[in-house]
């Protein structure tokens, strides 16, 4: 019983924590994010297994985590509102060459980041060439250029 409860509690706690962290940290890992994730992994492992290193315990924990994952993805599929709450929706941050400052600020992004993504993906040079810049659910920036 304790294996399942531990795994479920940690999964939910980490899910909520990473929601607070915001999307950007998930798409492109900087050195700081990488170190953070590494250490979080170590801390989580101790809490998940405790002092019980049996195969049964490990399998129960893994099954619980996978089970919650599958359950959440089914719920998201069934109830789009739940999906919206859990993952958010794509956000337009640049429209017809004009950056929307309040949204950029909320997402903790600068115009330079948008331009970097525009150069990488579409080879654009200036912000006026961007029709739409969108932050997707997973944190990546999609650029739709002016035709």
């Amino acid at each position: 019983m304790d294996s399942v409860l531990r795994a479920a509690a940690l999964y939910i706690a980490l899910l909520l924590l990473f929601k607070v962290l915001g999307r950007r940290s998930m798409s492109e890992l900087t050195i700081f994010d990488f170190v953070l994730l590494l250490i979080i992994g170590e801390a989580t492992q101790q809490a998940l297994l405790g002092d019980d290193f049996s195969v049964t315990n490990a399998l129960l924990v893994i099954m619980t985590l996978i089970g919650i994952d599958v359950l959440l993805s089914r719920l998201k599929w069934r109830w789009p509102a739940f999906d919206l709450w859990l993952e958010g929706s794509p956000i337009i941050v640049v429209e017809n060459g004009v950056p929307l400052q309040s949204r950029l600020q909320a997402a903790r992004l600068k115009v330079e980041d948008i331009l970097e993504s525009a150069r990488e993906s579409q080879g654009l040079e200036r912000i006026e060439q961007i029709k739409f810049a969108i932050i997707e659910k997973n944190g990546k920036i999609s650029i739709i250029p002016n035709t």
Binding site: M1, D51, D52, F53, S54, V55, L60, M63, T64, V70
Partner: protein, 148 residues
């Protein structure tokens, strides 16, 4: 082929879900299905019926005795071979071997003639084990199952 794959996926999903429910109910140690009490009255044992190899658990032996006097508890069977006893509280006055392979401990009863001994166990073996606890003529047998 893909449909068969999806059908298999659904089946696996149901199996995983039922295993999780069983685990919550205590099938794999620590839960309502696992916590058991053997005996009653003069000798009672509270223990985990299901154990996991390497995991710690607790066993409590409840016995009646003469107030303030020492009472002997004999633990025999496969318990000592399959588990490591990490601690016994209260500390036994003396301890010795019982019945070739078992453990015999002498603990002091309280003023009301009641002994409650807490044993910290760590499972070492695997599979089904049968053990007995004896005190003042009362003898209780019980089984435990250790998962890998």
């Amino acid at each position: 082929m893909q449909r068969r794959h999806w059908a298999f996926e659904r089946l696996a999903g149901v199996m995983v879900f039922s295993i999780i429910v069983l685990a919550l109910l205590g099938m794999f140690s620590k839960g309502p299905l696992s916590a058991s009490v053997a005996g009653s009255g003069a000798l009672k044992i509270e223990y985990q019926r299901f154990q996991r190899n390497g995991a710690a658990s607790q066993m409590v032996i409840d016995a009646l005795a003469e107030p303030g006097k020492n009472v002997r508890l004999n633990i025999t069977g496969e318990l000592l071979e399959a588990m490591t006893i990490e601690s016994i509280h209260p500390m036994p006055v003396t301890s010795s071997t019982a019945d070739h392979k078992g453990l015999s401990i002498v603990v002091t009863a309280d003023e009301e003639g009641h002994v409650r001994a807490y044993l910290s166990l760590r499972a070492d073996g695997l599979g089904l084990i049968r053990s007995q606890v004896e005190s003042r003529g009362e003898r209780i047998g019980f089984w435990q199952f250790i998962y890998p």
